[in-house]
Symmetry: C2
Subunit: 199 residues, 2 copies
């Protein structure tokens, strides 16, 4: 586009995941031509977030406080600690309205292909958090992907010997799911993990 | 994500076209967790572009100068003026290496459904530019969409009475295209606009 400032913007937009050179051009053009107010807001909010947002010292999620509101709330059950991969996953859990305990956000998952092992995830911090003497049960809510499963296995092996109860969220047919459309791996697992029904 | 700075960032990211609430969460998480350097660069380049980038006084494209380098170049043929919808389209034309004239960038197209008519596009500016006494031929390279076609028709009606030659880029089978896979509208048009071959 023959303008170094614009070229720099196009190049910078490519740091967004899923944005290639064509999309970056299109986004830059949109911002400069059709939404300068939005662009200004975006620029400011990025810089504000960079300076203000850090990790909660207890649960590791994003917050602007030392201890996030959820960790500081007296209404949550401190004996339950749910381990999730990302803040987005934590939001999903909250939206169920079915959980009243606390969280620990890994901010990632064990993924050897990306060079992320237990050390990069700083699982020692989770160990310290889970062995605070109050936590009674750690609920592993990592994804049911290979990496999420590996992460869950590692955490289980780390916490079990310390006498902390470790559970995993259930796997099976989704609510409203039809057997015809469920993949066979899920169906096999749902069969293996079948529950006996009460009398 | 329980952090007002992060919520503001998520909200601000939604000004990007094609980014919904889920994608915005994912992008914000990515920027804050995995690419703070990229986020800083993005924030700065948005703010720099907002202050530095404006429109070329001759061709209307984005530039940081009063007159962009291309318009100021003595190597371009000032008798040819190619009209395109966006700076991206201008780049596409340049990449053909088949055009040595100048450009006029509409920064949009006539689109009544979006409330964009000749006045919003400021076609008076194009009229002034095209009737500078130097331009001999205006080449319309707007898209072959309904809006692009309407825009081309309007410009033709505006310029023809002023005695300026107006041409339109050709429509037809793409180079390397196979009839089997070309849509029937394009094929019909290619038939109607068939060229007689030299002896």
């Amino acid at each position: 586009m023959n303008s170094s400032g614009l070229d720099a913007l196009i190049e910078a937009l490519r740091c967004l995941p899923g944005i290639g050179p064509k999309s970056a051009q299109r986004l830059a053009y949109h911002l400069m031509q059709h939404d300068r107010a939005g662009a200004a807001r975006l620029g400011e909010s990025i810089q504000h977030a960079l300076s203000a947002v850090r990790h909660c010292q207890r649960c590791n999620t994003f917050t602007e406080l030392d201890i996030c509101e959820r960790c500081a709330s007296p209404r949550r059950d401190p004996e339950l600690l749910c381990v999730v991969e990302t803040p987005v996953d934590m939001n999903m859990m909250e939206q169920t309205l079915a959980y009243q305990g606390l969280y620990y956000v890994l901010m990632g998952k064990i993924s050897p292909l990306d060079g992320i092992g237990p050390r990069q995830l700083d699982l020692e911090r989770l160990l310290t958090r889970a062995t605070d003497g109050v936590v009674r049960e750690v609920i592993l809510a990592t994804n049911y992907t290979n990496e999420g499963e590996a992460t869950a296995h590692y955490i289980t092996a780390m916490l079990k010997p310390r006498g902390i109860g470790v559970t995993r969220i259930a796997r099976g047919i989704p609510v409203g799911g039809e057997l015809e459309y469920v993949d066979s791996g899920t169906l096999a697992q749902a069969l293996r993990e079948r529950k006996s029904l009460g009398a």
